[in-house]
């Protein structure tokens, strides 16, 4: 029996909002009907699932007939847009109930949408949304910084093909990802190691 006969769970990539929102190119790796769809991260990795932690700053029911909830989740580099409707009842209920601001952890799938003017926006279809603490948020920022740097340094030989794909898919990527990682780290660095200023 080959490995392909056993469906393996897709890993949840760690990616900052700034990079994630630039991941507009999607692809599949086989022609099978239910082949998983991947968003190509600009640092050179396929993402069928992501895990991120940030501050839920706003929720809104943007649906017309049915409830369709949108949440804005902010990390040190940008904003994740999370959409949950009738097919994600638990996540939709969460967005309905939660009072921003709150630290939340989201596990979900990247989704792209092409607008009328042809530009592509990237959002998240959540599988789970849970309330977490500030410690978890900081741990996520550090972990995501480390894994983003790892991807940029190209240390994983299994990702070689995706690095080649990036050059074709994003010829004029403007996002300065190293600077983004520095900004993210400085936000945690200050929060964790510095004393609070005296009032």
């Amino acid at each position: 029996m080959s490995q392909q006969d056993i469906p393996t769970r897709e890993v949840a990539r760690r990616v900052f909002a700034g990079e994630f929102n630039s991941a507009t190119y999607t692809f599949t790796e086989s022609d099978a009907e239910r082949a998983p769809v991947y968003a190509l991260l600009p640092t050179g990795a396929p993402a069928n699932r992501v895990y991120f932690v940030g501050t839920l700053t706003e929720t809104e029911d943007v649906g017309s007939d049915n409830e369709y909830w949108r949440g804005r989740v902010v990390d040190p580099t940008g904003t994740f847009f999370v959409y949950a409707g009738q097919y994600q009842p638990a996540a939709a209920a969460k967005l309905r109930e939660l009072e921003p601001p709150a630290y939340i952890a989201v596990v979900g799938k990247p989704r792209t949408y092409t607008t009328d003017d042809g530009s592509v926006t990237v959002s998240v279809r959540p599988e789970t949304i849970s309330v977490v603490d500030a410690e978890t948020r900081d741990a996520w920022v550090l972990e995501t910084a480390g894994q983003t740097i790892d991807r940029m340094q190209g240390e994983d030989p299994e990702l070689e093909a995706y690095r080649a794909m990036v050059a074709e898919a994003y010829p004029d990527l403007e996002e300065d990802i190293p600077a983004m990682v520095v900004t993210a780290l400085e936000s945690v660095d200050g929060a964790v190691t510095d004393e609070l200023p005296l009032a």
């Binding site: 952890a105 910084a145 780290l185 945690v188």
Partner: protein, 309 residues
């Protein structure tokens, strides 16, 4: 004579490409040695292999000549012939008639699955007893090793009990999912059966009320790999803060056992944890965990990030 043919086939398969004789010829030699010279089966096997394997196959020959006592943690290759000293930790229900016994063996270095086949006609191993098993073959499936007993395996029961150690693994990541079958479950009451009931029915022993238990089947993800976890009743209580009594009360109040799984999801998903415990199949059985695993040093990361810009 079917027995000798089976043994001949096993030897033929084991020699693989290095085989210079047919399985029938191997059978002939075995018959001579066993029927006429009354050699024990294991000796006959050895003699036939020495005789038929070509000179230029020292590696394969070496394996048989140097066959030694192995510890379970030293097994890292399939198709090795080894001798092990083990305790039968657990016997499982064989999934097919071809399998006589299947279960878990342990020694001080860890635990490993074993299989013995009906055609080998070996004496039965008893759960909890310790044995010296000579001439077992290692096997591998998706990176997990097991041992197969075969017709040539000799089984000697030991008086001294073998201590079973844990080959503990540690994994750190975020709990990204809690799978169905978590929370308040009911297990079959039939002796020796601990199957989880589905709609009040055991797949082996039919409909019954069963006994309540609590567990979490979780998915840990570190951004590069996924590990499935099982938390038993005690570890579930420690992680989710819900013990069996509390879970039963919750289920009674809600008239629904599913409420426990939902509450557990609510409490544990999204958290970072470091777990420790033995690996079993695709699961890691959690013995202990920490909820605030170490994070990378921000200063080191800053240095690396600045070097890239």
């Amino acid at each position: 004579m079917a027995d000798i043919d089976t043994l001949a086939a096993e030897i033929g398969e084991q020699l693989g490409d290095q085989k210079t004789v047919t399985t029938e010829e191997i059978g002939e030699k075995l018959r001579t040695l066993i029927d006429e010279y009354h050699l024990p089966v294991s000796e006959a096997r050895r003699a036939v292999i020495s005789a038929v394997a070509p000179e230029d196959a020292p590696e394969t020959m070496g394996r048989f000549d140097d066959q030694q006592a192995a510890t379970l943690d030293a097994i890292e290759q399939a198709e090795e012939w080894i001798d092990i000293t083990v305790k039968v930790v657990e016997l499982w229900e064989p999934g097919s008639d071809a399998i006589a016994q299947v279960g878990l063996l342990g020694d001080p270095t860890g635990r490993m699955k074993f299989v013995s086949f009906t055609t080998s006609e070996l004496p039965e191993l008893v759960e909890g007893r310790s044995y010296r098993l000579e001439n077992v073959v290692t096997d591998e499936y998706e990176g997990r090793f097991s041992v197969k007993l075969n017709r040539t395996t000799t089984i000697t029961e030991l008086e001294d009990e073998v201590t079973v150690g844990e080959s503990t693994e540690s994994v750190t990541g975020a709990l990204v999912d809690v799978q169905r079958g978590s929370g308040l479950i009911r297990r079959c009451d039939e002796e020796g059966c601990t199957r989880v009931l589905q709609n009040g029915t055991c797949s082996e022993h039919g409909e019954q009320s069963g006994s309540f238990d609590l567990r979490i089947k979780g998915v840990l993800d570190d951004g590069t790999a996924v590990q499935e976890l099982i938390f038993d009743r005690e570890q579930t209580a420690a992680l989710a803060g819900i013990d069996l009594e509390a879970a039963k009360e919750m289920a009674q109040d809600a008239l629904d056992t599913g409420v426990v799984e939902r509450e557990i999801r609510e409490r544990v998903i999204g958290r970072y944890i470091e777990v420790h415990g033995p690996a079993l199949g695709r699961y890691l059985l959690v013995d202990s965990f920490e909820t605030s695993p170490e994070t990378p040093d921000p200063e080191d990361l800053l240095v690396r990030a600045r070097a890239l810009s």
